[in-house]
């Protein structure tokens, strides 16, 4: 029985933490108080749910409990009567205390809000969307905050990771991470960063910013896979969870759905990216039967629905590229011409040298190594990627495939001069040894 309650609290934590914090920030305007009270509500839940049973709507119970706690704290601190009234009124208006009953707490945040006009005029931010988590995610990812702070704040406030967990995930001392979070919250308060979903004219740009944060979060976890570091690889799951929330809240934004698709398609292959000894396994050599079929299928299906809207963007195109790989039964069946064309498309949105390098790989596979090498040579001539180990590594790989092993070995040596990641280094060393032994 106790285990069941613990499980229910843990599940509620995963599902509801962001919502509880987001609502508390809106009604109190105080981030620290919101986190404190949310924490307190979850602690109380353990005792109370054991005694009274798990409420039918844990989120409503937790939000109300956290709010009452905030009221107590504010009362003790004897803040102005106005603030108390605001918190009390929003408690009464938005969420009848009926967590064991039939009242649907989510209706209070959805478009069919049963609240009176006061709520509408006061909290409608003009974008037509009123979920508090959406406000929270846009505020956490505000471009006036440094990027590391955006990531950390999103994990803390929205995903409920603790400061030590976030510090560990980003390999910085706990004190540094705590300081980073304090500074970010202080800047939000002092610089007047608004707690709202941006108005329509800012929405596309800000949404791109939010997607960038989630993608970075995922990549951080993805890169850590080689180290088998659970706290860090958990970032992939957190990024997917947050992308799901965002896709649910912004279902009409194909790029949001595209990002979720991309993350799922990458994640489906994550387990096969490294072998038992922690060495990298290339896409060609990965065990395709070990890919997570349900993740891959869900990703592919989401991509379809996104593409059907006819508004392509960089995440949808990257997801389409990832889908080309996951849907190929064997490495040989991969449709490289399709992938090359998709990279060409991606260049329109992301005119970066790295995208062109990826296209060179695809062209090399589709049209022959010479065509790929010609594109690599172009990039080498421009010099922008001089410090990027994957430039010589790509040349090396194409030369190796063409059977020009001596030249390939030279290129691998140049790549080894530049590489930093230990798993990638071991991989390049292995290839170099292979080329030399031919």
């Amino acid at each position: 029985m106790n285990d069941e309650v613990e499980e229910a609290v843990a599940a509620a934590f995963r599902e509801e933490w962001g919502q509880v914090v987001a609502t508390l920030i809106r009604v109190t305007g105080d981030w620290d108080l919101a986190e404190e009270c949310a924490q307190d509500a979850f602690a109380q839940a353990l005792d109370r749910w054991r005694r009274d049973g798990v409420p039918r709507r844990p989120g409503a119970w937790l939000t109300t409990t956290a709010r009452n706690r905030a009221l107590d704290v504010l009362r003790r601190e004897a803040v102005g009567a106005q603030k108390l009234r605001e918190v009390a009124v929003s408690t009464r208006d938005e969420e009848p205390y009926d967590p064991y009953g039939t009242y649907d707490p989510y209706s209070a945040y959805g478009p069919h809000d049963p609240c009176d006009g006061r709520y509408d005029s006061e909290f409608d931010d003009g974008s037509g969307v009123r979920d508090d988590r959406l406000r929270l995610i846009f505020t956490c990812c505000h471009p006036a905050l440094p990027i590391e702070a955006r990531v950390a704040l999103t994990l803390r406030a929205l995903a409920g990771l603790t400061t030590p967990e976030i510090a560990h995930a980003f390999l910085v001392p706990e004190a540094t991470m705590a300081q980073r979070l304090v500074r970010a919250k202080r800047k939000i308060r002092n610089a007047g960063i608004p707690y709202r979903v941006p108005p329509a004219h800012l929405l596309p740009e800000r949404t791109t910013g939010v997607l960038g944060v989630l993608y970075l979060l995922f990549n951080e976890g993805y890169a850590a896979t080689a180290g088998a570091d659970l706290v860090r690889t958990n970032l992939c799951a957190e990024a997917i969870r947050l992308a799901r929330v965002l896709a649910r809240l912004m279902p009409d934004e194909p790029e949001v759905v595209g990002l979720l698709a991309l993350l799922l398609l990458h994640d489906a292959r994550r387990g096969t990216r490294v072998d038992a000894s922690g060495d990298l396994v290339t896409l060609e050599d990965q065990d395709r039967t070990a890919w997570d079929r349900s993740e891959a299928e869900e990703g592919a299906a989401l991509l379809e629905t996104a593409l059907r809207r006819g508004r392509p963007g960089p995440y949808q195109i990257q997801a389409a590229i990832a889908a080309c790989h996951t849907t190929a039964g064997t490495a040989e069946e991969t449709d490289w011409a399709d992938i090359a064309a998709l990279y060409g498309e991606l260049r329109r949105f992301v005119p970066s040298a790295v995208v062109r390098l990826n296209r060179a790989v695809a062209v090399g596979m589709a049209e022959g190594t010479d065509a790929g090498l010609a594109l690599v040579a172009e990039l080498e001539g421009e010099g922008e990627l001089d410090a990027y180990h994957l430039l010589p590594a790509t040349r090396a790989d194409l030369l190796r495939r063409a059977g020009r092993t001596t030249e390939a070995a030279e290129a691998y040596e140049r790549a080894l001069d530049l590489v930093e990641n230990a798993a990638e280094r071991r991989f390049l060393e292995k290839r170099l040894a292979e080329c030399r032994s031919v």
Partner: protein, 113 residues
């Protein structure tokens, strides 16, 4: 909220004179907007950094030096104090300011209130 906009200009660049400002449509449209919306609560155009004198005090001694205290690539050419709802509005205004459009930058700083 009140913000100070520090209007920064690259060192060595040409600063427009009063007549040029009056003729520049970017300035006139910006000035029109802030006037219409009554956003500017104060401010000043500053003489060039080369006319600055920096004062420091060490013990009883007052130390003077020519020019700004910090040597940098840009210097503050003017200050606007604006009052808007939040940082997004301040950023929107700063991004339309001729100082930002003309290759300089605008530092947006909230005031103690």
């Amino acid at each position: 909220m009140k913000y100070a906009l520090f209007l920064c200009t690259p060192v060595g660049g040409e600063e427009p004179g009063p007549e040029e400002i009056a003729d520049d449509p970017r300035f006139t449209s910006y000035l029109q907007e802030v006037r219409d919306r009554d956003l500017v609560k104060g401010g000043a155009r500053l003489r060039p950094a080369s006319d600055a004198t920096t004062v420091r005090v060490q013990g009883d001694e007052v130390l003077l030096s020519d020019g700004p205290f910090v040597e940098s690539k840009e210097y503050v050419a003017g200050i606007d104090i604006i009052e808007v709802a939040d940082l997004d509005e301040a950023i929107a205004l700063a991004s339309r300011h001729p100082a930002a459009l003309g290759g300089g930058s605008v530092e947006v700083r909230p005031l103690w209130e």
